[in-house]
C-alpha cells in the first residue's frame, strides 16, 4: 500500500508544470524527458549542452530537497532486477518510436491539445494499466 497524497501530488504536479512553462518561455523547448535524454544518446544532437544541464538539474533536485527541507521522499521499487532491465529496454524502444513519454506527450503535448499527444497518452495509459493488471492479478507477480 502507498499513502494517498492529494496535496503534495497536486503541488508536485504544479512544479512540473512550472518547469515545462519555463523551458518553453525561455528556450522554446518541450520538457519531454525521453526527448531530452534521447538527444544525448549517441549520435548526440548538436544542442546536447542544454539537455545535459536540464537532466543534471533533475538529478540533483531530490537531494537538495532532502538536504534543505524537512520533506521526506518515499521510494519503494518492488520490481526484481531482471524485470527492471526488460521494462527499461521496452521503455527506451517505445518512447523513441512513439516520440515521447508521460512528460512530453502526457503533460506538454496534452496541454496544447496536440492530437498526436492525446492519442499517444491514451495508448500508453491503457497499455500500462493492462500490463499492471496482468502482472499482478493474472500472473500473481510484483
Amino acid at each position: 500500500m502507498t499513502e494517498f497524497t492529494p496535496l503534495t501530488s497536486l503541488l508536485g504536479g504544479g512544479l512540473i508544470g512550472v518547469a515545462a512553462v519555463l523551458l518553453m518561455a525561455l528556450n522554446g523547448r518541450v520538457a519531454g524527458l525521453s526527448g531530452i535524454l534521447g538527444g544525448l544518446v549517441p549520435p548526440a544532437a548538436p544542442d546536447w549542452v542544454w539537455r545535459a544541464a536540464f537532466l543534471a538539474g533533475a538529478v540533483v533536485a531530490p537531494g537538495l530537497i532532502l538536504a534543505f527541507t524537512g520533506f521526506t521522499i518515499s521510494f519503494d521499487s518492488p520490481v526484481p532486477t531482471p524485470w527492471l532491465i526488460v521494462g527499461g529496454l521496452i521503455v527506451g524502444v517505445g518512447v523513441t518510436l512513439g516520440s515521447g513519454c508521460s512528460s512530453g506527450h502526457g503533460v506538454c503535448g496534452m496541454a496544447r491539445l496536440s492530437g498526436r499527444s492525446i492519442a499517444a497518452t491514451i495508448s500508453f495509459m491503457i497499455a500500462t494499466a493492462a500490463t499492471v493488471f496482468i502482472i499482478r492479478h493474472v500472473l500473481g507477480g510484483f
Partner: protein, 147 residues
Amino acid sequence: MPRILSALVAGLIFGAGIAVSGMINPAKVLNFFDIAETWDPSLAFVMGGALAVTALGYFLVLKRPTPAFEKRFHLPTKKRLDLPLIGGSALFGIGWGIAGFCPGGSIPALGLGQSSAFVFVAAMIAGMFAVKLVRSAMLVRAVRGRA
C-alpha cells in the same frame, strides 16, 4: 550561457516536482494503475496539477513571437496519427507497467542513489540506442538503394 542556465533551473524545478509529487516512487506509480486492488489515485492529482499550469502557461507563452533565449519555439510539426506513435506509446506503457519507472520518474530517482533507477535508466538508454542504430542502418540501406 543563459540557455544552459535556464535549462538547469527548469530541470531543478522539474526534478523537485517529480520528487514532491510521488512520481519518483515506482510503488506509487504501480498502485495508481492497479485499480483492482491497491489503488492510490495520487497520480491523477499530479497530472491535473501539471496540466492546469502547463495549459495556462503555454497559452500565454506561445502568443509571444519567440522564446527569450532562442530564435523560435521548437514544437513538433507532425500531425498524422501513425503506427510508430500508437504502437511505440503502447510499448512504452508496457515497459512502464513492468518497471514502475517512466523516463521522467527515473532520472530524478538517480539522485536518490537508488540502484533500481540506475539499472532501469541504463536499460532504457540501451533501448533508445538500439532504435537509433536500426534507424541509421535502414537509412544507409535506403540511400544505397537509391544510388
